[in-house]
Symmetry: C2
Subunit: 207 residues, 2 copies
C-alpha cells in the first residue's frame, strides 16, 4: 500500500479560506481608508485577526496582497452579477454589445465597495511605476484583451474596418470613461458611454 501525501484536514482548509477572505477584506478596507503608503502588512494582519507570518507565508509583499484582494473582488462581483468575467457578449451587434459592457462598468465604477480601493491603488500606480505596471499587467490588461477579442470578431464579421488595430480602437471608448472617473473631468452615465460607442464606431467626421 502506497503512503498517501499529507493533506490538510477539511477543518484546516476551511480555516485557511476564512483567513484568506479576512485578509482580503482587511487589505481593501485599510487601503480605502488610509491610502496605499500607510497600509502595512502589520495593519492588515491586525485587522484580519491573523498573525503577520500567515500573510508572509502566502504573499511576498503588500502589493501582492492588494492586487489579489482586488482580483478576488472583481471575481466576486462577476459571480454576484451571475456571469464569469469573460468573454464579452457577442450577439453580432457590436454597438449593442459594447454599450452593455460599458453600462456594467459604469455600475462597477460607482459601487463604493469597488471605488475606494480602486482609487487608492490607481493613485499609487500613477507615482509608483512598478506597481502601476503590475496593476495593469494583472488587472487592467486582461480586461482590455476581452475588448480586443470582441473587436477582432467584429473585424472578421466586416463590422470594423480591416486596418484598425483593436488594441488602440478600444481606448476610444474605454479611456474617456476611465479619465472621467479618475480625474473628475465630467459626469458618468449610461447616456455618456452609449454616446462614446456611437462616436467611436461611426466617427466624428460626416459620412
Amino acid at each position: 500500500m502506497v503512503t498517501q501525501p499529507a493533506r490538510p484536514a477539511p477543518d484546516t482548509s476551511r480555516r485557511s479560506e476564512r483567513s484568506r477572505r479576512a485578509i482580503y477584506e482587511a487589505a481593501l478596507s485599510l487601503v480605502a481608508e488610509t491610502g496605499y503608503p500607510k497600509t502595512t502588512i502589520e495593519g492588515i494582519a491586525a485587522r484580519a485577526g491573523v498573525g503577520k507570518q500567515t500573510i508572509y507565508r502566502w504573499w511576498g509583499s503588500k502589493a501582492d496582497v492588494l492586487l489579489e484582494a482586488f482580483l478576488d473582488l472583481g471575481e466576486q462581483a462577476a459571480e454576484a452579477a451571475g456571469h464569469t468575467p469573460d468573454p464579452l457578449p457577442d450577439t453580432g451587434d457590436l454597438a449593442a454589445d459594447l454599450k452593455a459592457v460599458l453600462r456594467a462598468t459604469v455600475d462597477e465604477l460607482l459601487d463604493p465597495r469597488f471605488e475606494a480601493p480602486a482609487r487608492a491603488l490607481t493613485a499609487e500606480g500613477v507615482v509608483n511605476e512598478p506597481l502601476g505596471r503590475e496593476f495593469v499587467a494583472k488587472l487592467l490588461e486582461p480586461q482590455l484583451q476581452l475588448y480586443v477579442d470582441r473587436l477582432r470578431s467584429a473585424q472578421r464579421a466586416g463590422q470594423l474596418r480591416p486596418g484598425i488595430d483593436p488594441r488602440i480602437a478600444l481606448e476610444l471608448f474605454v479611456s474617456p470613461l476611465a479619465q472621467r472617473w479618475l480625474q473628475y473631468t465630467g459626469p458618468i452615465s449610461y447616456d455618456y458611454t452609449d454616446t462614446l460607442v456611437d462616436y467611436a464606431l461611426y466617427g466624428l467626421a460626416p459620412r
Copy 2:
C-alpha cells in the same frame, strides 16, 4: 499736483518676483520628490529661502501654491516653444491641426520637468476629490475648452457631424493619451496620437 499712490520701488518688485519664482520651483521639486501629502508650506519656504509668512501672504494653502506653480510651468513651456497656450491652430485641416497639438502634448508629457509634479498632483487628485476638481477646473478644463473651440469651428465648416457634442468628442483622442501616460497602459508616440485622431474622425466601422 495729485498725490501718487504708494508703489513698491523697482528693487522690491524684483525681489518679490525672485521670491515668487523660487517658491514655485521649490513647490514643484518638493512635490515631485516626496509626493503631495509630504509637501508642506514649511518645506517649500525652507527650500525657497523665504519666510513661511511670505507664502501665506500670497497663497491660502499648499494646494493653491502648487496649482499656480503648475500653471506657471505651463505658461513658461508655451513661451519657450514660442507660442501662447491658446488657441489651437486652425488651418482648415482638422486632422492635421489635432495631430500637431497632440504631438506637442506627447513632448510635454515626456518632459521630466513637467512629468514628476504632474504625476504627483494627479495622483493626489484621484484620492482627494476637492483637489482633483480644483486641478481640473483651473488647469485641465481650460485646455480642453481649446479643443471644444476648434471642434466647433470644424462643425461650422462642415468637417464634423452636426449632432456631435464637442466636449465629449475631444475625449476620444485626449483621454486615451492621458490614460496611457497616467496608468502605463501602453507606449506613447506621435504615431499613436496620429492614429487616435484618424480613428476618432473617421470611425471604427467601415464607411
